[in-house]
């Protein structure tokens, strides 16, 4: 069967958002994302505008997965950070366990600063997410055990 679902509760979500907001400020970044290695977006902080954040999350995870595959071929466990620098916009990705911390920044910041600040909050994010994955499934049981076949069919009507 598939892996157990991840449940992100409201309080945990806002705690994570607060950490991302702090990182965004401290690193003068445009956007900060937390996604999981499967490409699911967990939280985002910053000026999203028209950016397709769902696609960005999926592609960032694909990028990390591909470079992780290369690392393995080279006998490395993984490459813990990835950076891509463009003419105006740049991106820095840190691998924190099963999380990916993605920072999008422009000329108002620098790769060195983003790397430093990302490293400084990595532990905190890892601890917060560990709580998320340790969560019990009572809520899940009460909310989703009531899903009926009609509920599911109605999605396709």
């Amino acid at each position: 069967m598939a892996d157990a679902p991840i449940l992100l509760r409201e309080q945990q979500y806002y705690e994570i958002k607060a950490v991302l907001a702090r990182l965004r400020l401290d690193s003068s970044a445009r956007l900060v994302f937390l996604i999981d290695k499967d490409g699911q977006q967990i939280a985002v902080q910053g000026d999203v505008g028209n950016l397709d954040t769902t696609s960005l999350a999926s592609l960032a995870a694909g990028n990390v997965a591909a470079t992780g595959g290369i690392a393995e071929l080279l006998g490395e466990k993984e490459f813990p950070t990835l950076s891509h620098e463009g003419e105006r916009e740049s991106i820095h990705i840190s691998v924190i366990g099963r999380l990916l911390l993605v920072v999008v920044f422009d000329e108002r910041s620098s790769l060195g600063l983003v790397k430093l600040r990302s490293k400084q909050i990595a532990r905190q994010l890892a601890d917060l997410f560990e709580e998320v994955t340790r969560g019990d499934y009572d809520d899940l049981e009460s909310t989703f055990s009531q899903i009926t076949d009609e509920d599911i069919d109605s999605l396709f009507s």
Partner: protein, 194 residues
């Protein structure tokens, strides 16, 4: 894996379309993309070669509606079908909630179907999954072509566990949404059970 966000009231699930090269995986996604209202979908991302063969994956997010107050979003992925892209296929299966195997019904593609299905089972095992326990649909695609194998014969060879089998012509859209519905239903039923 299914990701449930209580703050944004969203359920996110991952469905992967698997199958041999040129069986119609991308065509399935393209049809879903073309037939869905703009507000229900994101971009269709295709990481393809210059000749439009899938290089890494295709991806599109699809919002189906609300269940028990939660928006249900399905992240649809295809894998590259060509044999030598196996490393990429393995990566894309990570965190999968449901699989669609798109079989090519043409006689000359039978061996490719068998090889790809074997490869799916092997790659799932490598990620710690068991096809028998995973939400799964077998789609028999290209039913409009002249040189196709009868449905019963394909089922006998490719069916693994009494999974839903859907006949399809992905290029015209026939069977595409039936396939998606069959796998989505199993994923949500699994969530109910968990």
């Amino acid at each position: 894996m299914t990701f449930i966000n209580y703050a944004s009231r969203e359920i996110n699930c991952k469905i992967v379309y698997y199958g041999p090269g040129l069986c119609g995986k991308t065509t399935n996604l393209q049809h879903i993309f073309d037939s869905t209202a703009p507000q229900a979908k994101g971009k269709l991302i295709s990481l393809a070669t210059e000749t439009d063969r899938t290089l890494f994956f295709d991806f599109m997010p699809l919002e189906l509606g609300t269940v028990r107050g939660f928006k249900t979003r399905f992240h649809l992925y295809t894998v590259p079908g060509q044999v030598f892209y196996d490393a990429s296929r393995k990566l894309i299966l990570k965190g999968v909630d449901g699989v669609v195997f798109v079989a090519d019904s043409q006689e000359e593609r039978m061996d490719a179907n068998i090889e790809s299905l074997y490869n799916l089972e092997e790659n799932l095992r490598a990620q710690g999954y068991d096809l028998i326990k995973l939400p799964y649909v077998l789609q028999l695609n290209k039913r409009d072509l002249p040189n196709i194998i009868p449905v019963e014969e394909l089922k006998a060879e490719l069916s693994r566990k009494g999974e839903p089998v859907v006949e399809a012509v992905a290029s015209s859209g026939a069977g595409v949404f039936d396939t998606l519905k069959a796998v989505a239903k199993q994923v949500l039923t699994e969530l109910r059970r968990s």
